[in-house]
Each structure stands twice: as structure tokens, then as C-alpha cells.
Symmetry: C2
Subunit: 309 residues, 2 copies
């Protein structure tokens, strides 16, 4: 296996993880989690989103939360999700310097999220690019439903190629290919990434997987083998899927880091610190989260030999 | 990715899956599950074990169960786990024709299971080989703790090489490398299998993974890439780990089959049939099982587009 020496994790629990929770966390609760993530050496964090508070009340305090955490952020990269130009403006007004614009590869999913076709969102992106330039904001882009749409089913590779052809002239630093509802498989991931990296060799990619159908880490392995070294992950595997009750969420940060470290791949993160943060997360959301290592312990934990019967 | 066209699954729910359950299933309950597995086109089944009934009461009715199911088994391969020569004899007396002898690569784990060192179990294996020849029984072998021991920690690759050197002169048709408590990672799996296949090119291998730390399907992918086309799996992901409460069990048959089919790899199995059997399993054991596809549905399920708000 041809594996990299290190992989970078973008922690998304404060955004993708919390946005489907019944309980809306307060600023102080989010700050307690943030402090533990910093203690675990998280370097990149999607801290919230600037979307309509009626649509996602869990994220309504994102601006206020940013004002609090940015005071002590230091070198930490703090990224806000935005679904449109208005989101970019609201983020800018709070002093946010890094935003991630999300739209969907499938029209039906994009219509559901932002009442626009994919092409309309790509048009709006041009305005966002200009706006971010004006305010010296760093802009990244996520393409939701890259590997499949829960409404339309298959999303053809040609459509992702076409979207990339629209995006690359805009010089977006990082483009995230997102398996929004956990439909991807490792072969599909490996093939699509190999094609895109070949066709757009200058473009930096990040991958976003959900573990909805248990394939999250296998898909990550497929992506790593295709040369990807940046991934989104969510503490505790929090996240879920609005269409599949009981389905689990994003790939779980501590499980991802545990696998990578066991394979000799560095992440710069402290597994122990992540487990501590994940325990706190369970307390805060008030339910068991879907991660594995929190329950089973790391692979190198030794158990006492039972006494002879 | 260099993937095979087809993969064979050995269903182990009736043995590895049920042996840790609080509820002991009756013959009739096992038969109901068996019938649904046959309906889903299962071709190979570890149906039970011949171990001391005081140690594993869940398996005490394995002989009686075999007498029932063997009447209608047809081409189905019915395999019984045996931990020693006595197990082989008990299986033979019930008419069982295929047995799988299990011992552990680590002495401490083997001592816990069968009060013998690994070397002592290898000695006993020679008697079992002779016994099986005499009674025209097919003998396979599983090496537990191949990728790590919960008591000793790391199991060195050299030890697995040494065990294989003892086994190959015995002409065992299939040797299972078992990650008994879910300690393996994909890199380790790929490396060890590549070495063993290179050194023992005539030997047929089967792989047995647990999803204890969420890496089950990623490990399977690593094994497939190293050329493995036979795997154990357990319906619903039933199995567990006696040392880690709350930890999940074997890789889940329907999740495995779902991943393989989505990658275009044939298994001969019906995913729909497995899901039906897995629903029945949940009823029988009386709790939610750890599999994913049962909760989320297959990747190609399309959801209705919500009405405009």
C-alpha cells in the first residue's frame, strides 16, 4: 500500500455534528468542547455556519461563538460554512476570515438546501469569490452529493467533471468532495479521485465521508490510496442523516485518528485528547455517540489475564 | 484498485454471533434463522461448535441442530468449530463432515481458551488431522489473535510465519487468519497477507475480521487488495468482544455484501434476503444489532423529495 506520512483532519463536529441534534448547545457548552479539541491539537475546525437561524437553529449562535473563540485561536484555522452570498456577508461582519461555500452536485438536493439549481449556485459562487477577495477572506468549496444523491440516486462522474471545470478557473484553494448521505463505495471513491487528480493536477482536494452504511473508513482508505491527505471528520461520529433515522453520521474523528496512527500515519492530533473531548461531547448532547474507540478502547490496550477458574 | 470478480462469504452468526448472547436460542429459533439464510443463498455456514456445554451453553445444542438442518442442507457447506480432538469426535458422532479447528497464535489467549500453549495445540492438530482422515472429514483451521492479542498486545509476524510453517505440511485446505478482538489495521493486514501469500503460494486463506474499532470493512478492503476472496461474516454484525463491553462484533454480513455489490463484486447472495434474515435475528436475540444497512437501507434507495414549504 502506498500511504502518505501524514494526514490533516478538519474537525466538523461543531457544524456538521451538532446541526442535527435535538439539543441546541449554548455558547459555553460549545466553548467547553472547543477547549478540549484545542487541547487535542486540532489544527483546522469548521466551527459553525451562517445559514438562516430558522432553518438550522443549532447554528444560530455561530457568530457570537466565533467572537468568543477567535480571541484565543492563535494558529488554529476557523472555518464557517456558508450556503450563499448572504452567509459570506454575515460571516464577514463577525470577523470570520475563512469560509466554506457548500452547494450540491445534484439539482434536487441543491433545491432542497438552497432553492437553487447547481448552475445557479455556481453563478452565485462567482459573486462570493469577488466578495471574499474584497475582504481578504479565504474561500473553500464543498460539493455535496458528489458520490450520490438521496433523491436522484446516481450522480454521474461527468457531472462532477463538469462542476470541476467551472470551479478550477476560480482558483479555489481547497475543494471538498462530500459523500453527504453515505452512498459512496471505496472503488467509486478511488476511481473518481484518480480521474479528477489526473485531470486537475493543480487542485487540492479534501474528502468528506459519512459512515451511514458502515463504509466510512473503507472509503477513506480508498481516498488515501488515490492520494488524498485531507479529510473532514466529526468527533464521536456525530452527524446523522436526515433521511435515515438511526443512521450514523460523519466518519468519527477519534476512530479515524486511531486507524491512521495504527497504520503509522501522523495526524498531529492526540488520540487521548480526542477521547476526552468525545466523552465530553456525549455528556453535552445527552446520548451515546456512534464512534467505536470510545467504547472499545484503542487497539493496543492490554487486558488483564483472568485468574484461573 | 485491483479487485476480484467474486468473493465467498462464510456465515458465522450461528456460532461466533450467538455464542456471546445472553439469550440461548432454541433449535427451532436457530432453524428459523437458518431457513432465511438459505433463502438468501448462503453457501457456507459455520453452524455451531463442539465445545464444553458449561463453557459455551449457547452452543450446547449444536449436535442436535446439525441433525435437523443436515437433512435439507443439499449443497450447503455446514462447518462446526472444534477446539480439540474431543470436539472432532463429538462432531463426527453427530455426522458432521466439515470441522474447523481453532487455536490462538498467542500462548496467553490459547491458554485462556483451551488451557494449552500454541505449540501444544499444534501437536493436537496432528492427531485431529489423522482422525479426520480416518473418518473422511474435511478439516480447516483458524488462527485466532493473528493480528494481535488482547492480553499480550502485538503478535509478531514471525510467529504467524512459524505457525504457517507448521501447518502447511499438514495440507489444510483453508486456513483462516482471525482478527479475534478487532486489533488489526488495513496496512498490517495487507502487509502480512502479501508476505504469507508470497511465502506459501499454494495455501488458500480465509479472513475473519471483527469491527470492534470500526475498521472491519477497511481491513476487509486491505485483504481484498492483497488477493483474498474468502471471508467470514456474521449476520447483523453480531458477535461482540468479551473484553470490551459495548464493542461490536464480527463484520456484518449484510454490510459486507452491500459494500461488495456496490463495488461490482459478486457474492452469490441476496442482499434483500440477508436484510430479512437480519430483521429476524434482531427479533430472536431481543436487541438492536450493530449493522448499518439494516438501519440506513442500501445506498441506492431513493427518498421522496419533500413537498415545498
Amino acid at each position: 500500500m502506498n500511504l502518505p506520512k501524514s494526514i490533516e483532519i478538519n474537525e466538523v463536529v461543531l457544524r456538521d455534528g451538532l446541526q442535527l441534534e435535538d439539543k441546541v448547545l449554548t455558547i459555553d457548552e460549545k466553548k467547553a468542547l472547543f477547549d478540549l479539541l484545542v487541547k487535542a491539537h486540532i489544527g483546522t475546525l469548521e466551527f459553525g455556519s451562517f445559514v438562516h437561524p430558522k432553518l438550522v437553529p443549532q447554528m444560530a449562535n455561530s457568530g457570537e461563538f466565533f467572537e468568543l473563540i477567535s480571541q484565543t485561536a492563535g494558529q488554529l484555522k476557523l472555518i464557517a460554512l456558508i450556503p450563499n452570498l448572504k452567509g459570506a456577508k454575515n460571516a464577514q461582519e463577525k470577523g470570520v476570515k475563512k469560509v466554506n461555500f457548500v452547494f450540491s452536485a445534484s439539482d434536487t438536493h441543491n433545491q432542497q438546501n438552497v432553492q437553487k439549481t447547481t448552475e445557479e449556485s455556481l453563478e452565485e459562487l462567482k459573486e462570493i469569490v469577488d466578495y471574499c477577495k474584497e475582504y481578504a477572506m479565504v474561500l473553500s468549496v464543498s460539493i455535496a452529493t458528489t458520490f450520490g444523491c438521496p433523491f436522484e440516486g446516481e450522480v454521474k462522474k461527468e457531472r462532477i467533471h463538469w462542476i470541476l471545470e467551472q470551479l478550477t478557473p476560480l482558483h479555489i484553494e481547497t475543494i471538498t468532495l462530500a459523500d453527504t448521505t453515505g452512498m459512496a463505495n471505496p472503488q467509486q471513491v478511488y476511481d473518481l479521485i484518480s480521474e479528477l487528480k489526473n485531470k486537475f493536477p493543480e487542485q487540492s482536494f479534501n474528502l468528506h465521508f459519512h459512515n451511514t452504511r458502515g463504509m466510512g473508513l473503507a472509503n477513506m482508505l480508498g481516498a488515501i490510496e488515490a492520494g488524498i491527505t485531507r479529510f473532514d471528520a466529526s468527533l464521536g461520529g456525530l452527524g446523522g442523516c436526515p433521511f435515515a433515522p438511526g443512521a450514523t453520521g460523519n466518519i468519527c474523528t477519534e476512530d479515524v485518528v486511531h486507524m491512521l496512527h495504527s497504520m503509522g500515519i501522523d495526524t498531529g492530533l492526540s488520540l487521548e485528547g480526542l477521547i476526552e473531548a468525545s466523552q465530553k461531547l456525549q455528556q453535552l448532547v445527552g446520548h451515546v455517540t456512534p464512534g467505536y474507540v470510545l467504547k472499545a478502547g484503542p487497539y493496543d490496550r492490554k487486558y488483564p489475564v483472568p485468574a484461573a477458574k
